[in-house]
Subunit: 321 residues, 2 copies
Protein backbone atom coordinates (compact mmCIF):
# COMPACT_ATOMS: atom_id res chain seq x y z
CA UNK A 1 0.00 0.00 0.00
CA UNK A 2 1.12 3.62 -0.08
CA UNK A 3 0.87 6.99 1.63
CA UNK A 4 0.41 10.35 -0.06
CA UNK A 5 1.50 13.42 1.90
CA UNK A 6 0.68 16.98 0.94
CA UNK A 7 2.52 19.78 2.68
CA UNK A 8 5.46 22.11 2.80
CA UNK A 9 8.88 21.46 1.40
CA UNK A 10 11.13 24.16 2.80
CA UNK A 11 14.45 25.67 3.62
CA UNK A 12 14.85 26.30 7.35
CA UNK A 13 17.35 28.56 9.05
CA UNK A 14 17.37 27.53 12.67
CA UNK A 15 19.20 28.71 15.76
CA UNK A 16 19.08 26.72 18.99
CA UNK A 17 21.23 27.03 22.14
CA UNK A 18 23.40 24.33 20.54
CA UNK A 19 24.18 25.89 17.19
CA UNK A 20 22.82 27.26 13.97
CA UNK A 21 22.11 26.00 10.47
CA UNK A 22 21.36 28.06 7.39
CA UNK A 23 18.89 27.01 4.71
CA UNK A 24 18.81 23.33 5.56
CA UNK A 25 16.21 21.04 4.03
CA UNK A 26 12.97 21.09 6.01
CA UNK A 27 9.22 21.36 5.74
CA UNK A 28 6.39 19.25 7.11
CA UNK A 29 6.10 16.98 4.06
CA UNK A 30 9.84 16.25 4.08
CA UNK A 31 10.04 15.34 7.78
CA UNK A 32 6.86 13.29 7.47
CA UNK A 33 8.03 11.45 4.37
CA UNK A 34 11.44 10.51 5.76
CA UNK A 35 9.83 9.05 8.91
CA UNK A 36 7.03 7.25 7.07
CA UNK A 37 9.49 5.78 4.57
CA UNK A 38 10.61 3.27 7.21
CA UNK A 39 7.15 1.69 7.01
CA UNK A 40 5.64 2.04 3.55
CA UNK A 41 5.78 3.68 0.09
CA UNK A 42 5.48 7.45 0.36
CA UNK A 43 4.48 9.96 -2.33
CA UNK A 44 5.20 13.62 -1.68
CA UNK A 45 3.08 16.42 -3.16
CA UNK A 46 4.26 20.01 -2.73
CA UNK A 47 5.80 22.98 -4.53
CA UNK A 48 9.42 24.12 -4.67
CA UNK A 49 11.19 26.97 -6.43
CA UNK A 50 14.14 27.33 -8.79
CA UNK A 51 16.41 27.29 -5.74
CA UNK A 52 15.56 23.66 -5.04
CA UNK A 53 17.88 21.10 -6.53
CA UNK A 54 18.59 17.45 -7.19
CA UNK A 55 20.61 17.22 -4.00
CA UNK A 56 17.58 18.09 -1.86
CA UNK A 57 15.31 15.71 -3.74
CA UNK A 58 17.90 12.98 -3.37
CA UNK A 59 17.58 13.13 0.44
CA UNK A 60 14.05 11.81 -0.01
CA UNK A 61 14.52 9.55 -3.02
CA UNK A 62 17.46 7.84 -1.30
CA UNK A 63 14.93 6.63 1.23
CA UNK A 64 12.64 5.39 -1.54
CA UNK A 65 10.28 8.35 -1.36
CA UNK A 66 8.48 9.08 -4.63
CA UNK A 67 9.18 12.74 -5.43
CA UNK A 68 7.64 12.84 -8.91
CA UNK A 69 4.77 15.04 -7.64
CA UNK A 70 7.14 17.61 -6.18
CA UNK A 71 6.28 20.52 -8.45
CA UNK A 72 9.08 22.91 -9.42
CA UNK A 73 7.63 26.39 -10.09
CA UNK A 74 9.76 28.27 -12.61
CA UNK A 75 10.75 31.68 -11.29
CA UNK A 76 9.49 30.80 -7.82
CA UNK A 77 11.26 30.58 -4.47
CA UNK A 78 11.04 27.64 -2.06
CA UNK A 79 9.17 28.23 1.20
CA UNK A 80 11.58 29.62 3.80
CA UNK A 81 11.37 29.67 7.60
CA UNK A 82 13.77 31.29 10.02
CA UNK A 83 13.36 30.61 13.72
CA UNK A 84 15.18 30.67 17.01
CA UNK A 85 14.61 28.48 20.06
CA UNK A 86 14.91 29.58 23.68
CA UNK A 87 16.96 28.21 26.55
CA UNK A 88 14.88 25.10 27.23
CA UNK A 89 13.73 24.56 23.59
CA UNK A 90 10.09 24.84 24.68
CA UNK A 91 9.61 28.28 23.18
CA UNK A 92 10.53 29.47 19.74
CA UNK A 93 10.37 32.74 17.87
CA UNK A 94 9.73 33.00 14.15
CA UNK A 95 12.11 35.61 12.74
CA UNK A 96 11.06 35.31 9.11
CA UNK A 97 8.60 33.40 6.94
CA UNK A 98 8.65 33.64 3.15
CA UNK A 99 5.77 31.72 1.57
CA UNK A 100 7.31 31.86 -1.90
CA UNK A 101 5.80 29.19 -4.16
CA UNK A 102 3.44 28.24 -1.35
CA UNK A 103 1.37 31.35 -1.99
CA UNK A 104 -1.57 30.34 -4.10
CA UNK A 105 -0.40 26.72 -4.21
CA UNK A 106 -2.95 24.40 -5.84
CA UNK A 107 -1.79 20.80 -5.46
CA UNK A 108 -1.88 18.73 -8.64
CA UNK A 109 -2.00 15.08 -7.76
CA UNK A 110 -0.90 12.50 -10.30
CA UNK A 111 -2.91 9.33 -10.84
CA UNK A 112 -0.40 7.52 -8.65
CA UNK A 113 -0.67 9.97 -5.75
CA UNK A 114 -4.47 9.75 -5.94
CA UNK A 115 -4.33 5.95 -5.75
CA UNK A 116 -2.73 5.79 -2.29
CA UNK A 117 -4.91 4.25 0.37
CA UNK A 118 -3.52 6.46 3.13
CA UNK A 119 -3.36 10.26 3.06
CA UNK A 120 -1.64 12.75 5.34
CA UNK A 121 -2.67 16.39 5.10
CA UNK A 122 0.26 18.22 6.67
CA UNK A 123 -0.15 21.70 8.13
CA UNK A 124 -1.31 23.92 5.21
CA UNK A 125 -4.36 26.07 4.47
CA UNK A 126 -7.47 24.07 5.42
CA UNK A 127 -9.02 24.90 2.03
CA UNK A 128 -6.11 23.17 0.31
CA UNK A 129 -6.45 20.21 2.68
CA UNK A 130 -10.12 19.94 1.67
CA UNK A 131 -9.30 20.04 -2.05
CA UNK A 132 -6.78 17.25 -1.67
CA UNK A 133 -9.08 15.20 0.54
CA UNK A 134 -11.69 15.28 -2.22
CA UNK A 135 -9.19 13.81 -4.68
CA UNK A 136 -8.78 10.66 -2.55
CA UNK A 137 -12.40 9.94 -1.61
CA UNK A 138 -11.79 6.24 -1.01
CA UNK A 139 -8.65 6.46 1.10
CA UNK A 140 -8.76 3.92 3.92
CA UNK A 141 -7.14 6.25 6.48
CA UNK A 142 -6.77 10.03 6.35
CA UNK A 143 -4.95 12.09 8.98
CA UNK A 144 -4.58 15.85 9.33
CA UNK A 145 -2.29 18.28 11.13
CA UNK A 146 -2.89 22.01 11.54
CA UNK A 147 -1.75 24.96 13.64
CA UNK A 148 -2.98 27.91 15.71
CA UNK A 149 -2.79 30.27 12.70
CA UNK A 150 -5.58 28.37 10.86
CA UNK A 151 -7.69 28.15 14.02
CA UNK A 152 -7.40 31.94 14.21
CA UNK A 153 -8.06 32.87 10.60
CA UNK A 154 -9.77 29.90 8.92
CA UNK A 155 -11.55 27.99 11.65
CA UNK A 156 -14.64 27.19 9.58
CA UNK A 157 -12.68 25.57 6.76
CA UNK A 158 -10.51 23.74 9.27
CA UNK A 159 -13.56 22.26 11.03
CA UNK A 160 -14.88 21.19 7.62
CA UNK A 161 -11.56 19.49 6.86
CA UNK A 162 -11.47 17.79 10.27
CA UNK A 163 -14.98 16.42 9.73
CA UNK A 164 -13.65 14.60 6.66
CA UNK A 165 -10.63 12.84 8.17
CA UNK A 166 -10.17 9.81 10.42
CA UNK A 167 -7.41 11.15 12.60
CA UNK A 168 -6.53 14.60 13.90
CA UNK A 169 -2.97 15.23 15.11
CA UNK A 170 -2.58 18.52 16.99
CA UNK A 171 -0.57 20.04 19.80
CA UNK A 172 -2.62 19.84 22.98
CA UNK A 173 -2.79 23.64 23.25
CA UNK A 174 -4.18 23.79 19.69
CA UNK A 175 -6.82 21.21 20.57
CA UNK A 176 -7.93 23.38 23.50
CA UNK A 177 -7.93 26.47 21.33
CA UNK A 178 -9.88 24.77 18.57
CA UNK A 179 -12.66 23.68 20.92
CA UNK A 180 -12.40 26.44 23.54
CA UNK A 181 -12.28 23.66 26.13
CA UNK A 182 -9.40 23.80 28.61
CA UNK A 183 -9.69 20.12 29.51
CA UNK A 184 -7.88 17.80 27.08
CA UNK A 185 -10.37 14.96 27.35
CA UNK A 186 -13.37 17.27 26.86
CA UNK A 187 -11.65 18.94 23.91
CA UNK A 188 -10.93 15.58 22.28
CA UNK A 189 -14.47 14.33 22.88
CA UNK A 190 -15.81 17.47 21.24
CA UNK A 191 -13.78 16.86 18.08
CA UNK A 192 -14.75 13.17 18.10
CA UNK A 193 -18.39 14.26 18.00
CA UNK A 194 -17.94 16.19 14.73
CA UNK A 195 -19.11 14.60 11.51
CA UNK A 196 -19.76 15.84 7.99
CA UNK A 197 -23.29 16.88 7.03
CA UNK A 198 -25.56 14.12 5.71
CA UNK A 199 -25.13 13.42 2.03
CA UNK A 200 -21.42 14.14 2.19
CA UNK A 201 -19.17 11.69 0.37
CA UNK A 202 -17.59 10.37 3.55
CA UNK A 203 -19.94 10.51 6.52
CA UNK A 204 -17.77 9.02 9.23
CA UNK A 205 -16.08 11.92 11.07
CA UNK A 206 -12.85 11.78 13.07
CA UNK A 207 -12.37 8.74 15.29
CA UNK A 208 -8.78 9.16 16.49
CA UNK A 209 -7.38 12.24 18.24
CA UNK A 210 -3.67 12.53 18.92
CA UNK A 211 -2.61 15.35 21.25
CA UNK A 212 1.10 16.10 20.94
CA UNK A 213 2.54 17.38 24.23
CA UNK A 214 6.09 18.25 23.21
CA UNK A 215 8.71 17.04 25.65
CA UNK A 216 5.99 15.38 27.74
CA UNK A 217 4.94 12.95 25.03
CA UNK A 218 1.58 12.42 23.43
CA UNK A 219 -1.92 11.21 24.22
CA UNK A 220 -4.30 9.19 22.08
CA UNK A 221 -8.03 9.58 22.55
CA UNK A 222 -10.65 7.50 20.76
CA UNK A 223 -14.37 7.23 21.45
CA UNK A 224 -13.86 4.61 24.11
CA UNK A 225 -10.24 4.64 25.11
CA UNK A 226 -7.34 6.73 26.33
CA UNK A 227 -3.62 6.07 25.97
CA UNK A 228 -0.59 8.19 26.75
CA UNK A 229 3.13 7.80 26.20
CA UNK A 230 5.97 9.95 27.53
CA UNK A 231 8.50 11.29 25.08
CA UNK A 232 11.62 9.15 24.80
CA UNK A 233 13.97 10.79 27.33
CA UNK A 234 17.05 12.40 25.82
CA UNK A 235 19.88 14.16 27.55
CA UNK A 236 20.84 15.89 24.31
CA UNK A 237 18.16 17.64 22.29
CA UNK A 238 19.66 19.78 19.54
CA UNK A 239 16.78 20.95 17.33
CA UNK A 240 13.04 20.25 17.79
CA UNK A 241 12.16 21.51 14.27
CA UNK A 242 10.10 18.90 12.45
CA UNK A 243 9.55 16.70 15.52
CA UNK A 244 5.78 16.89 15.16
CA UNK A 245 5.87 15.98 11.46
CA UNK A 246 8.34 13.17 12.11
CA UNK A 247 5.97 11.95 14.85
CA UNK A 248 3.09 12.02 12.36
CA UNK A 249 5.22 10.14 9.82
CA UNK A 250 5.89 7.37 12.32
CA UNK A 251 2.23 7.18 13.35
CA UNK A 252 0.64 7.28 9.91
CA UNK A 253 3.42 5.17 8.40
CA UNK A 254 2.91 2.41 10.96
CA UNK A 255 -0.85 2.39 10.35
CA UNK A 256 -0.35 2.35 6.58
CA UNK A 257 1.95 -0.66 6.88
CA UNK A 258 -0.81 -2.67 8.55
CA UNK A 259 -3.64 -2.59 5.99
CA UNK A 260 -4.93 -5.97 7.07
CA UNK A 261 -5.51 -4.85 10.66
CA UNK A 262 -8.59 -3.12 12.00
CA UNK A 263 -7.86 0.35 13.41
CA UNK A 264 -7.80 -1.16 16.90
CA UNK A 265 -6.48 0.42 20.07
CA UNK A 266 -3.69 -2.09 20.01
CA UNK A 267 -2.58 -1.04 16.52
CA UNK A 268 -2.90 2.66 17.36
CA UNK A 269 -0.80 2.26 20.49
CA UNK A 270 1.99 0.52 18.62
CA UNK A 271 1.79 3.32 16.05
CA UNK A 272 2.11 5.90 18.88
CA UNK A 273 5.23 4.13 20.13
CA UNK A 274 6.84 4.20 16.69
CA UNK A 275 5.85 7.86 16.28
CA UNK A 276 7.45 8.69 19.64
CA UNK A 277 10.66 6.92 18.76
CA UNK A 278 10.95 8.48 15.29
CA UNK A 279 10.45 11.96 16.80
CA UNK A 280 13.14 11.27 19.40
CA UNK A 281 15.71 10.63 16.68
CA UNK A 282 14.66 13.74 14.76
CA UNK A 283 15.48 16.11 17.63
CA UNK A 284 18.94 14.67 18.26
CA UNK A 285 20.46 16.66 15.42
CA UNK A 286 19.61 19.60 13.17
CA UNK A 287 16.89 19.26 10.54
CA UNK A 288 16.83 15.90 8.79
CA UNK A 289 20.45 15.05 9.66
CA UNK A 290 19.75 12.25 12.12
CA UNK A 291 16.78 10.63 10.38
CA UNK A 292 18.66 10.59 7.05
CA UNK A 293 21.12 8.04 8.42
CA UNK A 294 18.71 6.26 10.77
CA UNK A 295 18.34 2.48 10.52
CA UNK A 296 15.37 0.22 11.15
CA UNK A 297 17.47 -1.62 13.70
CA UNK A 298 17.94 1.58 15.73
CA UNK A 299 14.19 2.19 15.70
CA UNK A 300 13.42 -1.32 16.91
CA UNK A 301 16.00 -1.04 19.70
CA UNK A 302 14.53 2.22 20.95
CA UNK A 303 10.98 0.82 20.81
CA UNK A 304 12.20 -1.85 23.21
CA UNK A 305 13.68 0.77 25.51
CA UNK A 306 10.53 2.90 25.43
CA UNK A 307 8.53 -0.19 26.29
CA UNK A 308 10.76 -0.92 29.27
CA UNK A 309 10.44 2.69 30.48
CA UNK A 310 6.67 2.70 30.59
CA UNK A 311 5.79 -0.61 32.18
CA UNK A 312 4.73 -1.21 35.73
CA UNK A 313 3.16 -4.21 37.36
CA UNK A 314 -0.23 -3.74 38.92
CA UNK A 315 0.70 -5.92 41.90
CA UNK A 316 -2.26 -6.02 44.27
CA UNK A 317 -1.91 -4.54 47.74
CA UNK A 318 -4.16 -4.60 50.76
CA UNK A 319 -5.07 -0.95 51.25
CA UNK A 320 -6.35 0.58 54.46
CA UNK A 321 -9.88 1.89 54.24
CA UNK B 1 6.33 0.48 60.11
CA UNK B 2 5.41 4.16 60.13
CA UNK B 3 5.85 7.49 58.37
CA UNK B 4 6.51 10.86 59.97
CA UNK B 5 5.60 13.93 57.95
CA UNK B 6 6.64 17.46 58.82
CA UNK B 7 4.97 20.33 57.02
CA UNK B 8 2.18 22.83 56.85
CA UNK B 9 -1.29 22.41 58.26
CA UNK B 10 -3.36 25.20 56.78
CA UNK B 11 -6.58 26.92 55.94
CA UNK B 12 -6.96 27.47 52.19
CA UNK B 13 -9.30 29.84 50.44
CA UNK B 14 -9.39 28.72 46.83
CA UNK B 15 -11.15 29.95 43.72
CA UNK B 16 -11.17 27.88 40.54
CA UNK B 17 -13.30 28.22 37.38
CA UNK B 18 -15.63 25.70 39.03
CA UNK B 19 -16.31 27.39 42.36
CA UNK B 20 -14.85 28.75 45.53
CA UNK B 21 -14.22 27.52 49.07
CA UNK B 22 -13.31 29.62 52.10
CA UNK B 23 -10.94 28.48 54.80
CA UNK B 24 -11.07 24.80 54.05
CA UNK B 25 -8.63 22.38 55.64
CA UNK B 26 -5.39 22.18 53.65
CA UNK B 27 -1.63 22.23 53.91
CA UNK B 28 1.06 19.92 52.60
CA UNK B 29 1.22 17.72 55.70
CA UNK B 30 -2.56 17.22 55.69
CA UNK B 31 -2.81 16.24 52.02
CA UNK B 32 0.24 14.01 52.36
CA UNK B 33 -1.05 12.31 55.53
CA UNK B 34 -4.50 11.54 54.14
CA UNK B 35 -2.99 9.92 51.03
CA UNK B 36 -0.29 8.00 52.91
CA UNK B 37 -2.85 6.73 55.45
CA UNK B 38 -4.10 4.22 52.86
CA UNK B 39 -0.75 2.45 53.10
CA UNK B 40 0.79 2.80 56.55
CA UNK B 41 0.74 4.50 59.97
CA UNK B 42 1.27 8.24 59.62
CA UNK B 43 2.41 10.75 62.25
CA UNK B 44 1.93 14.44 61.52
CA UNK B 45 4.22 17.13 62.92
CA UNK B 46 3.24 20.78 62.41
CA UNK B 47 1.90 23.89 64.15
CA UNK B 48 -1.66 25.24 64.24
CA UNK B 49 -3.23 28.25 65.95
CA UNK B 50 -6.14 28.85 68.30
CA UNK B 51 -8.41 28.85 65.26
CA UNK B 52 -7.78 25.16 64.62
CA UNK B 53 -10.27 22.79 66.16
CA UNK B 54 -11.18 19.20 66.91
CA UNK B 55 -13.22 19.01 63.71
CA UNK B 56 -10.15 19.64 61.56
CA UNK B 57 -8.02 17.19 63.51
CA UNK B 58 -10.79 14.61 63.20
CA UNK B 59 -10.45 14.64 59.38
CA UNK B 60 -7.01 13.14 59.87
CA UNK B 61 -7.62 10.98 62.93
CA UNK B 62 -10.66 9.41 61.26
CA UNK B 63 -8.19 7.98 58.75
CA UNK B 64 -6.00 6.67 61.55
CA UNK B 65 -3.44 9.47 61.30
CA UNK B 66 -1.61 10.18 64.57
CA UNK B 67 -2.09 13.90 65.29
CA UNK B 68 -0.54 13.98 68.75
CA UNK B 69 2.46 15.96 67.43
CA UNK B 70 0.24 18.65 65.91
CA UNK B 71 1.27 21.55 68.11
CA UNK B 72 -1.36 24.14 69.02
CA UNK B 73 0.30 27.51 69.62
CA UNK B 74 -1.70 29.60 72.09
CA UNK B 75 -2.47 33.04 70.69
CA UNK B 76 -1.31 31.99 67.23
CA UNK B 77 -3.09 31.79 63.91
CA UNK B 78 -3.06 28.80 61.56
CA UNK B 79 -1.15 29.19 58.27
CA UNK B 80 -3.48 30.68 55.66
CA UNK B 81 -3.26 30.61 51.86
CA UNK B 82 -5.57 32.33 49.39
CA UNK B 83 -5.22 31.53 45.71
CA UNK B 84 -7.02 31.64 42.43
CA UNK B 85 -6.59 29.33 39.43
CA UNK B 86 -6.81 30.35 35.77
CA UNK B 87 -8.94 29.04 32.93
CA UNK B 88 -7.06 25.79 32.33
CA UNK B 89 -5.96 25.28 35.98
CA UNK B 90 -2.31 25.32 34.89
CA UNK B 91 -1.61 28.76 36.31
CA UNK B 92 -2.44 30.09 39.74
CA UNK B 93 -2.09 33.37 41.53
CA UNK B 94 -1.44 33.69 45.24
CA UNK B 95 -3.65 36.46 46.59
CA UNK B 96 -2.62 36.19 50.23
CA UNK B 97 -0.28 34.18 52.43
CA UNK B 98 -0.30 34.52 56.21
CA UNK B 99 2.44 32.46 57.83
CA UNK B 100 0.91 32.77 61.31
CA UNK B 101 2.28 30.07 63.63
CA UNK B 102 4.57 28.92 60.84
CA UNK B 103 6.81 31.91 61.39
CA UNK B 104 9.70 30.77 63.55
CA UNK B 105 8.30 27.24 63.74
CA UNK B 106 10.70 24.81 65.41
CA UNK B 107 9.32 21.27 65.13
CA UNK B 108 9.30 19.27 68.34
CA UNK B 109 9.20 15.60 67.55
CA UNK B 110 7.97 13.15 70.15
CA UNK B 111 9.79 9.89 70.77
CA UNK B 112 7.18 8.19 68.62
CA UNK B 113 7.58 10.55 65.64
CA UNK B 114 11.36 10.08 65.86
CA UNK B 115 10.99 6.30 65.76
CA UNK B 116 9.37 6.16 62.30
CA UNK B 117 11.45 4.43 59.67
CA UNK B 118 10.19 6.66 56.85
CA UNK B 119 10.26 10.46 56.85
CA UNK B 120 8.69 13.00 54.52
CA UNK B 121 9.94 16.58 54.67
CA UNK B 122 7.12 18.54 53.06
CA UNK B 123 7.75 21.95 51.54
CA UNK B 124 9.05 24.16 54.40
CA UNK B 125 12.21 26.16 55.08
CA UNK B 126 15.19 23.95 54.19
CA UNK B 127 16.79 24.76 57.56
CA UNK B 128 13.78 23.25 59.31
CA UNK B 129 13.95 20.22 57.02
CA UNK B 130 17.59 19.76 58.03
CA UNK B 131 16.78 20.00 61.75
CA UNK B 132 14.10 17.34 61.43
CA UNK B 133 16.28 15.10 59.26
CA UNK B 134 18.89 15.09 62.03
CA UNK B 135 16.32 13.84 64.51
CA UNK B 136 15.71 10.66 62.45
CA UNK B 137 19.28 9.72 61.54
CA UNK B 138 18.45 6.05 61.03
CA UNK B 139 15.32 6.42 58.88
CA UNK B 140 15.27 3.80 56.14
CA UNK B 141 13.79 6.16 53.54
CA UNK B 142 13.65 9.96 53.56
CA UNK B 143 11.94 12.07 50.89
CA UNK B 144 11.79 15.82 50.46
CA UNK B 145 9.64 18.35 48.61
CA UNK B 146 10.48 22.03 48.12
CA UNK B 147 9.53 25.00 45.95
CA UNK B 148 10.93 27.82 43.82
CA UNK B 149 10.89 30.25 46.78
CA UNK B 150 13.56 28.25 48.65
CA UNK B 151 15.65 27.81 45.52
CA UNK B 152 15.59 31.61 45.23
CA UNK B 153 16.31 32.58 48.82
CA UNK B 154 17.83 29.54 50.56
CA UNK B 155 19.49 27.46 47.88
CA UNK B 156 22.53 26.54 49.97
CA UNK B 157 20.47 25.11 52.82
CA UNK B 158 18.20 23.34 50.35
CA UNK B 159 21.15 21.64 48.62
CA UNK B 160 22.41 20.57 52.07
CA UNK B 161 18.99 19.10 52.86
CA UNK B 162 18.79 17.32 49.49
CA UNK B 163 22.23 15.77 50.05
CA UNK B 164 20.78 14.11 53.16
CA UNK B 165 17.66 12.48 51.70
CA UNK B 166 17.03 9.44 49.51
CA UNK B 167 14.34 10.89 47.31
CA UNK B 168 13.67 14.37 45.92
CA UNK B 169 10.16 15.18 44.71
CA UNK B 170 9.96 18.44 42.74
CA UNK B 171 8.04 20.02 39.90
CA UNK B 172 10.07 19.62 36.73
CA UNK B 173 10.47 23.41 36.37
CA UNK B 174 11.87 23.55 39.92
CA UNK B 175 14.35 20.79 39.12
CA UNK B 176 15.59 22.81 36.14
CA UNK B 177 15.76 25.97 38.23
CA UNK B 178 17.63 24.21 41.04
CA UNK B 179 20.34 22.89 38.71
CA UNK B 180 20.23 25.60 36.03
CA UNK B 181 19.94 22.78 33.50
CA UNK B 182 17.06 23.03 31.02
CA UNK B 183 17.13 19.32 30.20
CA UNK B 184 15.19 17.18 32.67
CA UNK B 185 17.52 14.18 32.47
CA UNK B 186 20.64 16.32 32.90
CA UNK B 187 19.02 18.15 35.81
CA UNK B 188 18.10 14.88 37.52
CA UNK B 189 21.56 13.41 36.95
CA UNK B 190 23.10 16.51 38.51
CA UNK B 191 21.04 16.08 41.70
CA UNK B 192 21.78 12.35 41.77
CA UNK B 193 25.49 13.22 41.84
CA UNK B 194 25.16 15.24 45.06
CA UNK B 195 26.24 13.66 48.31
CA UNK B 196 26.97 14.96 51.78
CA UNK B 197 30.57 15.81 52.73
CA UNK B 198 32.67 12.96 54.09
CA UNK B 199 32.21 12.34 57.78
CA UNK B 200 28.55 13.29 57.63
CA UNK B 201 26.17 11.03 59.50
CA UNK B 202 24.49 9.73 56.34
CA UNK B 203 26.85 9.65 53.39
CA UNK B 204 24.57 8.25 50.71
CA UNK B 205 23.05 11.20 48.79
CA UNK B 206 19.82 11.19 46.82
CA UNK B 207 19.15 8.14 44.66
CA UNK B 208 15.59 8.75 43.46
CA UNK B 209 14.37 11.86 41.63
CA UNK B 210 10.68 12.35 40.96
CA UNK B 211 9.79 15.18 38.57
CA UNK B 212 6.14 16.16 38.85
CA UNK B 213 4.78 17.44 35.53
CA UNK B 214 1.28 18.54 36.53
CA UNK B 215 -1.41 17.43 34.11
CA UNK B 216 1.21 15.58 32.06
CA UNK B 217 2.11 13.14 34.81
CA UNK B 218 5.44 12.44 36.45
CA UNK B 219 8.86 11.02 35.69
CA UNK B 220 11.12 8.92 37.87
CA UNK B 221 14.87 9.06 37.40
CA UNK B 222 17.36 6.88 39.23
CA UNK B 223 21.05 6.38 38.56
CA UNK B 224 20.39 3.73 35.95
CA UNK B 225 16.78 3.96 34.95
CA UNK B 226 13.99 6.19 33.68
CA UNK B 227 10.25 5.76 34.05
CA UNK B 228 7.34 8.04 33.22
CA UNK B 229 3.62 7.88 33.78
CA UNK B 230 0.90 10.15 32.40
CA UNK B 231 -1.53 11.70 34.82
CA UNK B 232 -4.78 9.75 35.13
CA UNK B 233 -7.04 11.47 32.56
CA UNK B 234 -10.00 13.30 34.04
CA UNK B 235 -12.73 15.19 32.27
CA UNK B 236 -13.58 17.06 35.47
CA UNK B 237 -10.81 18.68 37.45
CA UNK B 238 -12.16 20.97 40.15
CA UNK B 239 -9.22 22.02 42.34
CA UNK B 240 -5.55 21.09 41.90
CA UNK B 241 -4.57 22.37 45.37
CA UNK B 242 -2.67 19.68 47.26
CA UNK B 243 -2.26 17.39 44.25
CA UNK B 244 1.53 17.36 44.60
CA UNK B 245 1.39 16.53 48.32
CA UNK B 246 -1.24 13.86 47.73
CA UNK B 247 1.04 12.43 45.03
CA UNK B 248 3.92 12.39 47.52
CA UNK B 249 1.68 10.71 50.09
CA UNK B 250 0.85 7.93 47.66
CA UNK B 251 4.49 7.49 46.64
CA UNK B 252 6.08 7.57 50.07
CA UNK B 253 3.18 5.66 51.62
CA UNK B 254 3.53 2.84 49.14
CA UNK B 255 7.28 2.60 49.75
CA UNK B 256 6.77 2.67 53.53
CA UNK B 257 4.30 -0.20 53.28
CA UNK B 258 6.95 -2.42 51.67
CA UNK B 259 9.77 -2.42 54.22
CA UNK B 260 10.87 -5.91 53.22
CA UNK B 261 11.51 -4.91 49.60
CA UNK B 262 14.68 -3.39 48.21
CA UNK B 263 14.16 0.09 46.73
CA UNK B 264 14.01 -1.51 43.29
CA UNK B 265 12.78 0.09 40.08
CA UNK B 266 9.84 -2.26 40.19
CA UNK B 267 8.80 -1.07 43.65
CA UNK B 268 9.34 2.59 42.74
CA UNK B 269 7.21 2.23 39.61
CA UNK B 270 4.32 0.71 41.51
CA UNK B 271 4.68 3.55 44.02
CA UNK B 272 4.53 6.08 41.14
CA UNK B 273 1.30 4.47 39.92
CA UNK B 274 -0.29 4.72 43.36
CA UNK B 275 0.90 8.32 43.69
CA UNK B 276 -0.64 9.18 40.32
CA UNK B 277 -3.96 7.62 41.24
CA UNK B 278 -4.15 9.28 44.67
CA UNK B 279 -3.44 12.67 43.08
CA UNK B 280 -6.17 12.09 40.50
CA UNK B 281 -8.78 11.67 43.22
CA UNK B 282 -7.53 14.75 45.06
CA UNK B 283 -8.21 17.11 42.16
CA UNK B 284 -11.75 15.86 41.54
CA UNK B 285 -13.15 18.01 44.35
CA UNK B 286 -12.11 20.93 46.52
CA UNK B 287 -9.41 20.50 49.15
CA UNK B 288 -9.55 17.18 50.99
CA UNK B 289 -13.22 16.52 50.13
CA UNK B 290 -12.70 13.62 47.74
CA UNK B 291 -9.83 11.88 49.51
CA UNK B 292 -11.71 12.02 52.85
CA UNK B 293 -14.30 9.59 51.54
CA UNK B 294 -12.01 7.62 49.23
CA UNK B 295 -11.87 3.83 49.57
CA UNK B 296 -9.05 1.38 48.99
CA UNK B 297 -11.26 -0.38 46.48
CA UNK B 298 -11.53 2.80 44.37
CA UNK B 299 -7.75 3.18 44.40
CA UNK B 300 -7.20 -0.39 43.26
CA UNK B 301 -9.75 -0.02 40.46
CA UNK B 302 -8.08 3.11 39.15
CA UNK B 303 -4.63 1.50 39.32
CA UNK B 304 -6.00 -1.15 36.99
CA UNK B 305 -7.33 1.50 34.62
CA UNK B 306 -4.06 3.44 34.65
CA UNK B 307 -2.25 0.22 33.88
CA UNK B 308 -4.52 -0.45 30.91
CA UNK B 309 -3.99 3.10 29.62
CA UNK B 310 -0.22 2.87 29.51
CA UNK B 311 0.43 -0.52 27.99
CA UNK B 312 1.48 -1.26 24.45
CA UNK B 313 2.87 -4.37 22.89
CA UNK B 314 6.30 -4.16 21.36
CA UNK B 315 5.23 -6.32 18.41
CA UNK B 316 8.17 -6.65 16.03
CA UNK B 317 7.93 -5.25 12.53
CA UNK B 318 10.17 -5.51 9.51
CA UNK B 319 11.28 -1.92 8.95
CA UNK B 320 12.64 -0.56 5.71
CA UNK B 321 16.26 0.50 5.90
Amino acid sequence: MAITVVGSIAYDTVKTPFGERERMLGGAAVHFALAASFFDDVRVVGPVGDDFGEQQLAVMSKRGVDVSDVEQITGGKTFFWHGEYGWDLNSRETLDTQLGVFEGFQPKLSERSRSSDVLFLANIQPEVQLTVREQLPDARFVALDSMNLWIDIAREALVKAIERVDCVILNDAELRQLTDKPNLISAAREVLSWSPPNGSSSARGPRVIVAKQGEYGAALITRDSFFALPAYPLETVIDPTGAGDTFAGGLVGYIAAHPQEELSDELLRRAMAHATVLASFNVEEFGTERVERLSGREIVARIGQLHAMTQFSGAPLQLRG
